[in-house]
């Protein structure tokens, strides 16, 4: 070690470790909740401050009070819930099918070299195709039916899901795959028992992105078929825009945002349980 590595002179430090404090579950919950509450309060305050500053007239940028008033008004109508329910149902149906298709395509492309070479790079091409480009095809194939909407949602979400899975499979540790092969797992069994579980974290990431794509495609797709007066969220959003109704638009944005947050918490729970299993939790970075 000699001279090159001569230790720099440091005053002795004391690294002292003492037991970690334990907290009650009530306090833990509060610890999870208050930052969110604070963030919301902060945003509302800022928003209100901008409104009060008179930067824009209130019909262009309405204040929180007006928007939440409007939202409360919306929430007071059964119609509104029916509309949200319609949208959510469409989202779930489209998303479920997209998950199925995306997974199968993802596995096939990952597994079959020929297929990967043939269509692997088409995935991002498909993903970057805006929903409206599919509208004419959707109508051609499914006429003016809900299925046209579902079609657009699937085309939006499935590539992201396939991409997530493909990325996960590509980054599986080769050692684990070798373990599987040595244990006699080949072909689909190798996938089922080793590759897919190992790719799960990335797949969940893809599912999350897929949801966002599905949802955004749906918001556009709901304008394809306006079947009835039970206004879906996408329609409402478009009408708010057509009517330049800033209050309504903001109220709807809040609804969409909240739905996104709720869905996120589902994915987060899934992700946490995976990380728990894999022993990726607790190591505070």
């Amino acid at each position: 070690m000699a001279s090159e590595l001569a230790r720099s002179i440091v005053l002795p430090e004391v690294n002292e470790s003492s037991p970690a404090p334990r907290r009650g579950s009530g306090r833990r919950l509060w610890g999870d909740v208050w930052p969110k509450v604070a963030a919301i309060a902060l945003i509302l305050t800022a928003w209100q401050a901008v409104v009060w500053s008179g930067w824009q007239p209130d019909y262009v940028l309405p204040g929180p009070a007006a928007v939440f008033g409007r939202l409360a008004g919306d929430l007071g109508h059964l119609d509104f819930y029916v509309g949200v329910a319609i949208t959510l149902r469409r989202a779930l149906v489209g998303y479920t099918i997209a998950v199925a298709i995306g997974s199968v395509v993802g596995i096939l492309v990952a597994r079959v070299t020929l297929l990967r070479k043939a269509v692997g790079s088409a995935i991002l091409g498909l993903q970057s195709m805006p929903s409206i480009a599919w509208f004419p095809l959707a109508i051609l194939l499914f006429q003016l039916s809900e299925r046209a909407i579902t079609f657009v949602v699937i085309l939006g979400a499935a590539p992201a899901i396939a991409a997530g899975l493909l990325g996960g499979v590509d980054h599986v540790q080769p050692l684990l795959v070798r373990v599987g092969r040595v244990m006699g797992a080949t072909g689909l069994r190798l996938y089922r028992y080793v590759v897919l579980p190992a790719a799960l974290p990335s797949f969940v990431g893809g599912l999350k992105q897929g949801w966002a794509f599905a949802w955004r495609s749906l918001m556009a797709g709901e304008l394809l078929v306006i079947v009835n007066h039970q206004q879906s969220l996408g329609q409402r959003l478009q009408f708010a825009r057509d009517l330049s109704d800033a209050e309504q638009l903001l109220a709807l944005m809040i609804v969409i945002f909240v739905i996104g947050v709720v869905i996120d918490s589902l994915f987060s729970a899934l992700d946490r349980s995976i990380r728990q299993r894999w022993g990726l939790l607790g190591g505070e970075i």
């Binding site: 006429q143 003016l144 394809l224 009408f239 009517l243």
Partner: protein, 326 residues
């Protein structure tokens, strides 16, 4: 009516931001810009900045948020801009286009009575044509609910989609503006069941008018008057040189949208349109009332919407009859 005395800032160099759509129904705007009527009338002190829009909602958002000063828009966005801003933000200062909305149907539909049980498209729930269609159906004793049911199914959807759906036989007809009506006729083999002009007195109803921000109107009356002078010339030009005007409009639209309409479509559409600087205020009011009575929109008080003093000064200068608001 406070447009008499110009404020000092009304003389210096400035910019006027004008919005319009690349559309046949906006021909006065297109001609005014392309033939230089606006620029000529406004003079060299004013830079004319133009913005093209695709949807009325965006144009209104832009005008409400002070991104543009004036815009050619349809009656629907006009009412929205006025009511959303509690009657403050905008004023209608002139008309531009009238007519150009038709109910076209499959040839097998021979009369209004045949509409029973059929599916008719229109551009958008609560839009002018939607209101007109529902009003028309109601006055002919048909029931049409907003759920697409009733004696006649009303299906609001985008115009481009309507064309495809009609060609495929998914719908039986449509109440749409030009050039869609003519495209449905020429490309889709539809026939005219009704020209909306027939349901209005004197066959005129507002399709496009010119709105301007209230502040801008109050701050720059001279400029607005010049703009109206340009618009007057543009409308006159359109009415006196229809053939040339058709070609010009089609060219300008093509410059923006990248594709010319079939010339047959343009001339067919042209025959359903009229260009007039009269904003046809009563027809806008009537349409809003109809919307209220078919249960689509809350009733709106449009009393202060029109501000036609400057327009009338221009008309008087050209020895034309003056027009009136509400």
């Amino acid at each position: 009516g406070s447009a008499a005395a110009g404020s000092p800032s009304d003389d210096g160099p400035m910019a006027l931001r004008l919005g319009y759509f690349p559309n046949l129904t906006h021909a006065p705007a297109l001609a005014g810009l392309d033939k230089g009527f606006f620029a000529g009338a406004l003079g060299s002190g004013v830079t004319l900045e133009t913005h093209t829009f695709n949807a009325g909602g965006d144009a209104v958002t832009a005008i409400l948020s002070n991104s543009i000063d004036a815009a050619f828009v349809g009656p629907n966005p006009t009412v929205n801009a006025y009511t959303q801003s509690h009657g403050k933000a905008v004023r209608v200062i002139a008309g531009a286009t009238s007519g150009g909305a038709l109910l076209v149907v499959k040839p097998s539909i021979k009369s209004v009575a045949d509409l029973k049980g059929k599916k008719i498209a229109d551009p958008q729930l609560g839009a002018t044509q939607d209101v007109a269609l529902r009003w028309f159906l109601k006055s002919h004793g048909f029931k049409a609910d907003t759920a697409g049911g009733g004696d006649v199914g009303v299906l609001p959807q985008e115009n481009s989609q309507t064309l495809t759906a009609f060609k495929q036989g998914q719908i039986d007809g449509a109440w749409v503006p030009e050039p869609w009506a003519s495209r449905l006729i020429i490309e889709g083999g539809a026939k005219i069941l009704l020209d909306e002009r027939d349901v209005w007195p004197q066959g005129r109803f507002v399709t496009t008018n010119l709105i301007v921000r209230t502040d801008f109107l109050q701050g720059h009356p001279k400029r607005i008057k010049a703009l109206l002078e340009g618009l007057y010339q543009a409308v006159t030009y359109l009415n006196s040189n229809p053939t040339e005007a058709q070609a010009l409009t089609n060219d300008t639209v093509a410059q923006i949208t990248g594709k010319k309409l079939a010339s047959g479509v343009v001339s067919a559409a042209w025959s359903h349109l009229a260009f007039t600087i009269d904003p046809l205020a009563p027809t806008l009011k009537a349409s809003a009332d109809h919307a209220h009575s078919v249960g689509l929109l809350p009733s709106a008080d449009l009393k202060g919407l029109y501000e036609l003093g400057l327009l009338n000064q221009v008309l008087v200068a050209h020895q034309q009859p003056v027009v009136s608001g509400l």
